[in-house]
């Protein structure tokens, strides 16, 4: 017996919401991407806890996949940031307002 299941989910939620705050509130695209990573980490914690509750290995399998996907997504995302930075000269997401209105 470790802890009640709800506590694990609460921890996952806290991590996820911290990541959300980071995405929304920072004015540097790289920080936004870091926030996304934090959110993914929170989801992984939730999966682990659920796998342990039901004593199934699917939870852990999915954490493996999350890891892989996070790695891919970071590399593509950073490449995109570089590209965008070279075109517009700024990494502030507020300057990318072509879709305004």
């Amino acid at each position: 017996m470790i802890v009640p299941y709800g506590h694990v989910l609460v921890l996952a939620g806290i991590i996820f919401c911290l990541g959300l705050t980071c995405v929304v509130a920072r004015r540097n695209l790289i920080m936004v991407l870091i926030g996304v990573e934090i959110m993914l980490n929170g989801a992984a914690v939730a999966f682990m806890g659920s796998g342990l509750l039901w004593q199934r290995l699917e939870g852990q399998a999915f954490v493996l996949f999350i890891l892989g996907i996070a790695a891919t997504e970071v590399s593509v995302g950073l490449a995109l940031i570089l590209h965008a930075y070279r075109r517009s000269g700024s990494v502030d997401p507020d300057t990318y307002s072509v879709l305004k209105g």
Partner: protein
């Protein structure tokens, strides 16, 4: 309150504290470093929750490769951008609001369900069992992940090309 519960709460405090610090730093590099600490804590959590293999993978891939990649890109863009401009309330307000609201809803959802209070049972899985499980049941997903990594590689090369050839693109 036994030993494992204590370990869980200590790890949780570590993760949360370092994540908060990571989110609120002005300098991106500081943020990345704190995030590495957070991921290490996360790895310990994974071990506690029954998967030493994934704990190791978390340290190697996430903390070791992804965060290092972040550092590289930060350093590539660092010279031109400088520090971030102020932390005004109107930037943080929607984030805090969204996070808080979402978190509150999640708590209500979790604790209104009876299974939210079921205590977890300890278990641990060796890498061998885990590998057998993965390749027997979810081999297709593994193949797709590898394909995805390949795609990521191609995209990274293409997008990250230098100015000389990238500018000819009308896009």
């Amino acid at each position: 309150m036994n030993l494992y519960a204590l370990m869980f709460y200590a790890t949780a405090v570590l993760i949360i504290a370092s994540t908060v610090l990571a989110v609120t730093r002005r300098q991106a590099v500081h943020s990345v470093v704190f995030l590495v600490v957070s991921f290490l804590g996360s790895a310990m959590l994974f071990y506690l929750l029954g998967s030493p293999f994934l704990a190791a993978l978390q340290v190697i891939i996430y903390a070791g490769a992804v965060m290092v990649l972040f550092l590289f890109v930060i350093m590539m863009l660092k010279a031109e951008q400088g520090e971030e401009k102020g932390f005004a309330k109107r930037f943080w307000a929607p984030g805090v609001l969204a996070g808080f609201l979402f978190f509150a809803a999640a708590c209500v959802a979790v604790f209104s369900d009876p299974s939210g209070t079921v205590p977890l049972k300890l278990n641990a899985v060796t890498p061998k069992e885990f590998g057998r499980f993965i390749f027997e049941r979810y081999w297709l997903a593994v193949e797709l992940i590898s394909l995805l990594l390949f795609l990521g590689l191609v995209a990274g090369i293409h997008l990250g090309r230098d100015k000389g050839r990238g500018e000819e693109d009308p896009e």
